[in-house]
Amino acid sequence: MAKENKISMEHGAGGQQMQSLIGEIILKNFTNTSAGSVGLDALDDGATIELDRDFLNNNKKAELVMTTDSHVVKPIFFPGGDIGKVAVCGAINDLAVMGARPLAVSSGMIIPEGFSITDLEKVVHSMNDALVEIGVPLITGDTKTVEGTALDSIIINIAAIGICDAPVRDCGLQIGDKMIVSGYIADHGMALLTKREGFEFNSDLESDTAPLWKMIEPLLAVQTQAGERAVTAMKDPTRGGVADSLNEMAQKSNVGIRIYEEKLPIREAVFTSCEMLGLDPLEIANEGKAVIGVRPECAKAVLKLLKSHPYGKDAAIIGEVTEEKPGKVILISELGSTRYVDVPTGDPIPRVC
């Protein structure tokens, strides 16, 4: 079968097709991809830059973490946020789930001819609000405009730089770890598509877009009795949702993950709208959530800390890390049947006969 040799929307949807595009076209063709312990090959939430020890004149082990993310969001204003807030939070959260304190961000905007200046100002305001909330400066930027036909909406790129002692990796899960999700899942994706597709759900779905650093910072200090960091791995489940994040963590850590259907925090309205559309909440995007692997003896302490922060008040332990089926995520249904949580593929492929 000949594959269509063009980019399709699925290539950007965060699923299997995007992974193979990145692997086969992008990763393969860059030759120098590492500046520290985490490089491009890791395809983690960000990468690290090793600091020059002599220059720093101290022995403290610390690394810089860098991440970059471009945002196109339709519609640009939606319940619970807008493209500016998503752009800033996306970058900050990528740093946060690496365990890095954000130091500064840059902004690159590509704006189509005809775009409303009032709207632009609104977007910039919400970018600033998010940055002020966590006390991070925006220190450099770039703005380009293009002809109206080339683009139908604004694109915002944010690069962010942070610092950490030792990055939290996607590949750090250990057998026995508890899996925590920091709150209700699928809010962002469902709010957005409700607005975009004009579905009448009779409910007020709101995006969860939020900068998570302040919620995550205290978790990093929790240690086991042996003095190890309690948090073993972390991801922000954006495109591809929790399903994608869990699969990536299981694969990179070479462990199995079991999650329990009845423990997944899902808002009634989100659950209902997913059921009406035939969508799986596990596959829907979030912009203010973290999926966290924690040593079992510290799970309660970490959960408690999370719950004490407004962004983590609905956090829940959803499952655990197991030896069986390395690289796979297994969902145990309320009735007791089990199935794999697949990596989202984009379009639905019916399988029930």
Partner: protein, 830 residues
């Protein structure tokens, strides 16, 4: 004296074949030996030419009831080659030689054993594990070959003196019958209850209370069933849930606890007379009764009769009922104690999961469902569900091929020495091994989407590999990327360095029906594949296809129109989504308004809000899959007719539609006055139709613009039904009659498409496969249309038309590919 070496292949193990050889050898004054070589029998025979001839003739004509000789290979040995002197010996089994039979299937307890059990003087009087060489469990008990007691679950029960005497007496009916046992040495039943079952919330003690054991256990179980309780009964191949089929209360209780609101339950009837009381079972040779009474004891689906008097909830809203006769000795003992003549006997499993086979597992999984447990202490090695047979177009068809048939070989019309395996698809799955022209098909596995069932699939794969000795170098699977069986095959291929071949679902269906009809290797056919879902080579979902097919290649000539499934599989569960999807073109072109569809008040779990969401989904093409499935068209009609709002078990809407059509045909033809139907003539514009020709809706077949395929416009057909449905009381047809007219038109549409393809291609060999081929009405209409054009519609003979045949079709296709590899141009002629 001449010496001959005989190799006997077939069903020759565990069926009393060697003692039989011994007996006829002695009778014919033959000296020599017989030995079991893993899965064939070798005989060395010395005697006069006359005696040898008579021995050979006895061998092939007087063989034991359960045995079957598929191949007899006779060679002459030089005199004195084998030291054969004085008498005839049965030698100890050896393993490791390859043949073509493995182990016989389980069969019902035989007449002789039944009479042992009925005689109060007999030491096996009412003993529920009575068996002999000619009957009883086999496949369900075997761990590995050779088939000796030590390799079965009976190894835990050392023979007592009396049994040992029978076991070692070559003239005894129980000579080397591996499951042989008696009340002194054999397994025993216990009747148990979970402590604290009623005080569930106390959270306290939930361990077992043994209420009775031995025959008292069966007696108490019978009493509990008669009293309206639900009993989990451990059988030979798995657990069943049993209750009194006359008690609506008990049946509803079982439904509620199982969370199975409507799936029809099979029943076990005391005897054939009882079956006749409630169904139209036919006694004519070769019809339903002969299957019901067959030693393989399948469930036979028969149309209900006017005197049907079982609880309405046994098979609600359906016109037929699945019945079986007692098969194990324990069933007979149970009926000895039961007052009721009919019990519900349904496999004990959670939806989609494998049947429970283990006592502890039963205790933990079934304690919220069963009030009591009738256990025994013999292990179940190979889980085997009941086989189900129904008549379609007056021919017997498997709905499920399992107990009584598995692991009997199925012969392929061609042969290759390379071992190959097929892992099947996903739902109703089986797996197959093939080598040397034989296919060994596994028992029914179930829905491998569930990991427990996928694990069972892997286990059954290992068992079959063990028993057949086939180590496949090629493994075939479906094209669907997400099936667990696809993952399994990929893993196997990389682990065992085997070749992986992915075979399109409907091509596998057609290969199966081709091989099932012994079509030769170079056949080209028109294959009609009618089912629920199969992944197409264009990455969309198919299910109403006409393929021009060889065993190795196919071209999709025609199909049903691809229809939108709003929400993907959700549309299968709630078929109103399909109605909206199929009628949406009429909204797009302004014929209908959204309000028209909304005012149909079809069932959506979240009511009108959801109905509107579905319309926007269709408008925006959001999370909408495309499918040319025929199952979905029948589902849509069932929803539009108000027969089924939510599918609670596989095939429910289509089954309800078929039942409604069954009654509809009766209603339309009962009036018997042809003139009453003259309005049909107006609409079809021809002479007055016959009563069997219910053409009212006219199917539309067109050449599709984009694909060039011939496409059946199922939207137009559903729209025609819609125009009648909205007339409500003003329609001249009842919903049942509309169901009949719709199903008829659907079948006619397929038939017209086939006939057009026959004319275009010149191919006159036509076969049909897929789950919809279980639909009696559709296949009858289709076969009749083809018959009128001089074409015999080929249907499945030894395999279920549903996805249970996929693994069979996969190995048939792979074997053909092996054979045709050298013939380079083959397959390019399509």
């Amino acid at each position: 004296m001449p010496v001959k070496k005989l190799l006997v292949k077939g069903v020759v193990q565990g069926v009393g074949f060697r003692p039989f050889v011994y007996r006829i050898a002695v009778e014919n004054h033959i000296s020599g030996s017989v030995i079991n070589l893993g899965n064939m029998v070798q005989i060395l025979a010395a005697g006069s030419t006359e005696n040898l001839n008579s021995f050979l003739s006895d061998l092939t004509t007087k063989n034991p009831p359960l045995s079957r000789i598929d191949e007899l290979n006779v060679t002459d040995l030089p005199e004195g080659e084998a030291a054969i002197e004085g008498g005839f010996l049965i030698l100890k089994s050896k393993s490791g030689v390859s043949g073509n039979s493995i182990i016989p299937p389980d069969t019902a307890v035989c007449e002789e054993c039944l009479s042992d059990m009925q005689s109060p003087q007999n030491r096996r009087h009412l003993y529920p594990f009575t068996v002999c060489t000619n009957c009883g469990p086999r496949y369900t008990t075997v761990r590995k070959l050779p088939y000796d007691r030590k390799n079965t679950v009976m190894d835990e029960f050392p023979l007592c003196e009396a049994c040992l005497k029978e076991y070692t007496d070559v003239n005894d009916r129980r000579y080397h019958a591996q499951p042989v046992c008696c009340p002194t040495c054999g397994p025993i039943h216990t009747f148990e209850q979970k402590a604290g079952r009623k005080a569930k919330n106390s959270g306290g003690d939930r361990k077992a209370i043994v209420l009775a054991s031995g025959n008292d256990a069966l007696k108490e179980a019978a009493k509990a069933i008669d009293d309206g309780f639900i009993v989990a009964l451990k059988g030979d191949g798995g657990f069943h849930l049993v209750c009194n089929a006359f008690s609506e209360e008990a049946v509803c209780l079982l439904r509620n606890r199982l969370k199975r609101p409507a799936q029809p339950f099979a029943v076990m009837v005391r005897n054939a007379a009882v079956a006749s009381n409630h169904t139209q079972i036919r006694r004519t040779a070769g019809k339903e009764l002969s299957f019901l009474e067959n030693v393989r004891r399948p469930i036979v689906v028969c149309n209900k009769s006017d005197s049907y008097a079982l609880a309405p909830s046994v098979a609600p809203k359906l016109h037929n009922l699945g019945m079986m006769l007692p098969y194990s000795a324990a069933h007979y003992v149970l009926f000895e104690y039961l007052k009721t003549d009919v019990v519900v006997m349904t496999s004990a499993n959670l939806p989609g999961l494998p049947m429970v086979i283990d006592n502890d597992d039963a205790f933990s999984k079934l304690s919220d469902i069963a009030d009591y447990f009738l256990f025994h202490n013999r292990l179940i090695q190979n889980r085997t569900d009941d086989t189900v047979i129904r008549f379609v177009n007056d021919e017997p068809v498997f709905l499920r091929r399992s107990r009584g048939f598995v692991p009997e070989r199925i012969v392929l019309p061609f042969s290759h020495s390379k071992g190959v395996a097929g892992v099947g698809a996903e739902m109703n799955n089986t797996l197959s091994f093939a080598k040397d022209g034989n296919i060994f098909l596994s028992q029914y596995i179930g829905n491998t989407k569930h990991l427990q069932t996928a694990a069972y699939h892997a286990e059954a794969f290992e068992t079959l590999r063990q028993l057949t000795g086939i180590r496949p170098k090629i493994i075939a699977c479906d094209m669907h990327p997400d099936f667990n069986t696809t993952h399994f095959a990929k893993e196997y291929a990389s682990k065992e360095k085997a070749k992986l071949i992915q075979i399109q679902h409907h091509h596998a269906h057609i290969c199966s029906v081709m091989a099932d009809n012994d079509l030769p290797l170079d056949s080209t056919v028109l294959g009609i594949a009618l089912d629920g879902v199969g992944y197409g080579d264009d990455q969309t979902v198919w299910g109403g296809e006409i393929l021009k097919c060889t065993y190795t290649d196919y071209v999709r000539l025609s199909s049903l129109a691809p229809q939108p499934m709003a929400g993907g599989d959700l549309a299968t569960k709630f078929p109103a989504r399909l109605v909206f999807g199929m009628l949406y073109p009429y909204i797009s072109d302004g014929t209908l308004s959204e309000e028209d569809l909304l005012s149909l008040n079809l069932f959506f779990p979240r009511g009108a809000d959801e109905a509107k969401v579905v319309l926007s989904q269709l408008k925006n093409n959001f999370n909408v899959a495309a499918s040319s499935s025929s199952g979905r068209v029948l589902d849509a009609a069932a929803a539009l007719l108000g027969l089924c709002g939510e599918r609670t078990f596989d095939g429910e809407p289509a089954m309800l539609l078929e039942s409604a059509a069954y009654h509809g045909v009766a209603e339309l033809t009962a009036g018997s006055d042809l003139a009453d139907l003259s309005f049909l003539a107006e609409t079809i514009g021809s002479e007055i139709p016959t009563l069997s020709d219910l053409s009212y809706f006219k199917p539309a077949i067109q050449q599709s613009d984009e694909s060039g395929r011939l496409v059946f416009d199922t939207s137009a057909l559903l729209y025609a039904l819609y125009t009648e449905v909205i007339k409500g009381e003003d329609s001249r047809f009842s919903p049942n009659q509309l169901a009949a007219l719709f199903v008829h038109a659907f079948a006619e549409g397929i038939g017209q498409m086939v006939l057009q393809n026959v004319r275009d291609s010149g191919i006159r060999v036509v076969c049909v496969s897929g789950g919809v081929a279980n639909n009696d009405y559709i296949i009858s209409v289709l076969a009749k249309m083809l018959k009128e054009n001089g074409i015999d519609l080929l249907t499945h003979k030894n395999l279920p038309p549903g996805d249970g045949c996929i693994s069979h079709g996969q190995v048939a296709s792979v074997t053909a590919r092996l054979l045709l590899k050298s013939k380079k141009n083959f397959g390019n002629n399509l």
